[in-house]
Symmetry: C2
Subunit: 252 residues, 2 copies
């Protein structure tokens, strides 16, 4: 199902893949972009042609990104109309260049809202050339484990999209915890403490010299629950049922 997603030019960063090879990576890149509201994909000289067999399947529904993808012959052409370009790279390049973490990079991008921004990703095996890196304003690298630094292309794209969303205040959660009932008043809590403690005392629960300590610890347990009015009603109901049942064991 093809979706029409409207993103104003210059709002979200363009994702630029330089000589990408695997259909799976490009498709998953499109999906990762769509997940975080990016839609502008630029492909520089895709290896072995374009479009690629299997890329639409790998996009898992994000085919609108693929359909709108623009193809360029070189990096200079792909970045010409942009105002700020980041180059992702795993290895130090011996260039005097600012190196940013994804979060910091997207803070920079957020400051440039309204400008054309691009994030370049290199070839699956060898990444970007030093020359291509030098065409970018700054380097982005990912805080990966030194034991296993090789990050899949689409995974890198996902992280940049995620951090863009966070940096530009778009990272609202799809839903938040429903407060199905308001918090219990302190009166309701104190009343519950009393009922609970009376019930436990009647049941012979407290060792004689430990009643105060145990009661206070149980009050803390109930405080930690952050009980709602409904929670208190449920808890009281359970207490009553247990007490009634204990009072009339022949009702089993």
């Amino acid at each position: 199902m093809s979706k029409q997603i409207e993103i104003s030019p210059g709002v979200a960063p363009a994702i630029i893949l330089v000589e990408p090879q695997l259909a799976e990576n490009i498709g998953m890149t499109a999906r990762a972009m769509a997940n975080f509201g990016l839609s502008e994909l630029r492909l520089v000289n895709p290896k072995n042609g374009w479009p690629k067999k299997g890329v639409r399947e790998a996009a898992s529904g994000a085919t609108h990104v693929l359909d709108a993808a623009r193809i360029f012959d070189s990096v200079p052409e792909a970045i010409a109309d942009l105002h700020y370009v980041l180059a992702t790279t795993a290895r130090e390049r011996g260039q005097m260049k600012r190196v940013l973490a994804p979060e910091a990079a997207m803070t920079e991008v957020a400051r440039r809202e309204g400008q054309g921004v691009g994030v370049m990703f290199g070839r699956e095996r060898v990444g970007l050339t030093n020359d291509e890196v030098s065409l970018a304003d700054a380097i982005v690298t990912f805080p990966v484990s030194a034991d296993f630094p090789s990050l899949n292309l689409a995974q890198g794209v996902l992280l940049m999209g995620y951090e863009w969303r966070r940096a530009t205040g778009r990272a609202a959660l799809p839903f938040t915890g429903e407060l199905l009932s308001p918090p219990a008043t302190r009166q309701a809590m104190l009343s519950l403490f009393a009922s609970l403690e009376e019930g436990l005392a009647a049941a012979g629960f407290y060792p004689p010299e430990k009643r105060e300590i145990i009661a206070r610890n149980m009050r803390d347990m109930l405080h930690r629950m952050a009980m709602t009015e409904q929670d208190v009603r449920t808890f009281r109901g359970a207490l009553r049922a247990l007490s009634r049942h204990a009072a009339a064991p022949s009702n089993d």
Copy 2:
């Protein structure tokens, strides 16, 4: 190549996949975990058996995670020894439950360092059941675009690993910008301004009434460069070469 990675129990969260189906997703999950220093994978009742054909290839070298994976028959068994469990879900579940963004969730996890923590991911198509969600301490959901909310399993794992690393102070970049030369002193900068401005004046660059304004703007350009000592030397050298060349055009 199999790596031996030492992570102390209770240090990094366990990733728990509930009835995962696709070898590709499990393999890519292992890779995503390795990228961010997670190594404990728990599989609950993998669909169509374990191990799966193709999973090692999809792990792209992170086979140590697969080899150490533990298989469980049910969620209760998989989480029994843990102290704090998060359930990832894309949809609201009608439960009174705290819903956390990945960053907030990993802040909670960071507070529990030394405790056993698990992050549960559900089946590719239907996610976790409401019952399974109720066994977790809290829900995590991702700040995806409402237009395209379906996040690939391994991508969700990657985001959790990334945020864990950030929350626990482990997100150092593999390299930072090399300061190949110290910043230029103000004397070097002022001297450069003077040379540049004298050279441009001699070349008749400035319109008469605009020299001050243009000169000040160019000083700002040079300030924005944040020039190092080496930058100044390079720039001076370029200026001299241009001036010499201009002085002796017959040398072309």
